[in-house]
Amino acid sequence: MAAIQITNVEKRYRSLRALDGVSLTIEEGEFFGLLGPNGAGKTTLISILAGLNRANAGSVSVHGHDVVSEYRAARRLLGVVPQELVFDPFFTVRETLRLQSGYFGLKNNDAWIDEVMHHLNLTNKANANMRALSGGMKRRVLVAQALVHKPPVIVLDEPTAGVDVELRQTLWQFVGRLNHEGHTVVLTTHYLEEAQALCNRIAMLKAGKLVALDSTANLIHRISGSQLTLRLAPGNRLPDVLKPLVSHPDQLLGGNQYILRVNDVAEVEPILAKLREGRVVIEDMQLQQADLEDVFIQIMEREK
């Protein structure tokens, strides 16, 4: 049985179609990435899955339980880490986690609460008031709250936005372990290298529509070849003959840097020859394999 089944989900806000007939299936045990630019509908889709929002059409189920008609069963199976950094200022970390356990019908859950706190490096903050915690610590508590009931499906909505390297590593180690133990993980993130490293399958949303759905490996193989990053010395310009090879016309890198698409290493020498012909001085040069970010940019540009 699918961990999550999303069928023809539509969500409208007046004239805006936030989700426009999205369908996808996430199998048990997957580490699934949900990617897309801001406003693509990722959080809306997660909100509908979590019962925080209602779809105008279509259906969503968790382990076969419809999130509206069988919401109690569906929500018991879900642990959601919300995107916003929210907390209840009245309580300590331990009180917060005990309350969250209770909401899920669990009493005497301290052994698991202690384990979750240990894995998220929260143990020495157990009795601190939520107000006194740093942003990173509050984020850890949010993750812990989503895990208090050992949900088989864990949904992380941009969990690493604005957090330090230590928390990222701690979080991915712990979530990775849970995934190995059989928990399904759904991740939305803008850090594509994270998605590439962690997710075995990826869906991409744009303007409420599903524009890609494949294994991470297949998505990356869609772009054959590599990219050559060139930084030219001040005053130097890329010869016109090479301009068709520039892969990112918007030049995210700015300045005098260019990213050129090459199919293999053999194509590098002719490019260098053209640069020498034009007496262009190179300050730095890098050859990289295409990655998920390239795929993402290509798909998003194609769908414009």
Binding site: Y71, E84, G102, Y103
Partner: protein, 251 residues
């Protein structure tokens, strides 16, 4: 059931952690009302034969405190959670609309009862009270707190900002409370205003509550009980409907 118990416990803990503000302060306010109005009007007003004005005032003040604090508890909890975003912790778990209703209103009733008991204990020093029908006192006290706790829930669901909640409180709850006979008997009003008062459900809560103390009231206690019960069922059904539909909470 554990979910309901936990939410109820959390709602109680929420106000109990700031009890100086949520319990002690309203008791002090009620005592000030009694001292000032009791002192000024003691020798000038007698509402029921044989009942001093200070004594007449006490049940009204107790009930007013119960009602206002029950409303404040559920409404402030909900609006704070909505605005800070932590309502998500209650919306994500498998809590039913009945559990949400029971926990929020239950905690509101408890705070109302605690403040009411506090006001009673303090004001009992200043007035000689009788307890003709204590069950009516308890029944009207609990029902009144339940109604206002429910209205607080509705207001908290509806309001998007603190000023909208303040408007609900200041332009609806406060006038209905003050014009319900806390400080006077409606028989002292001109005929037209007496008739208007009979459309105010708060009047029946306070009148029935006061009957429990003195055995005297403006309308028969059973009549008040029927009105109060009916009103409670009406607002409770509306609140449960809002929770079930997800109005402004799951949107």
């Amino acid at each position: 059931m554990i979910g309901f118990q936990t939410l109820f416990y959390k709602e109680v803990l929420r106000f109990w952690k700031v009890a100086a503000q949520t319990v002690a302060a309203p008791v002090l306010t009620a005592m000030l009302y009694l001292l000032i109005f009791g002192h000024v009007l003691q020798d000038h007003v007698q509402v029921f034969p044989g009942v001093k004005y200070t004594a007449f005032l006490v049940p009204g003040l107790i009930m007013m405190s119960v009602l206002q604090n029950a409303f404040a508890n559920s409404s402030s909890s909900l609006i704070q959670s909505k605005i800070t975003g932590n309502l998500v912790f209650v919306l994500l778990p498998p809590l039913s609309h009945w559990e949400l209703f029971g926990a929020y209103v239950g905690a509101a009733v408890l705070r109302g009862a605690m403040v009411g008991s506090g006001v009673f204990l303090i004001t009992a020093w200043f007035a000689k009270l009788s307890f003709v029908a204590p069950w009516w006192i308890l029944l009207f006290g609990l029902l009144g707190a339940g109604i206002l706790g429910t209205l607080g829930l509705v207001a908290g669901i509806w309001a998007d900002k603190f000023d909208q909640l303040a408007a609900f409180q200041n332009f609806l709850i406060m006038p209905l409370t003050f014009l319900s006979g806390v400080f006077y008997s409606i028989h002292s009003l001109p005929g037209f205003w007496q008739d208007i008062s009979r459309f105010n459900p708060f009047f029946y809560m306070i009148d029935g509550f006061r009957y429990g103390f003195f055995g005297q009231s403006d309308v028969a206690p059973l009549h008040s009980f029927a009105v109060v019960c009916g009103f409670f069922l009406l607002v409770a059904a509306f609140a449960v409907y809002l929770l079930k539909s997800g109005y402004k909470l799951r949107h």
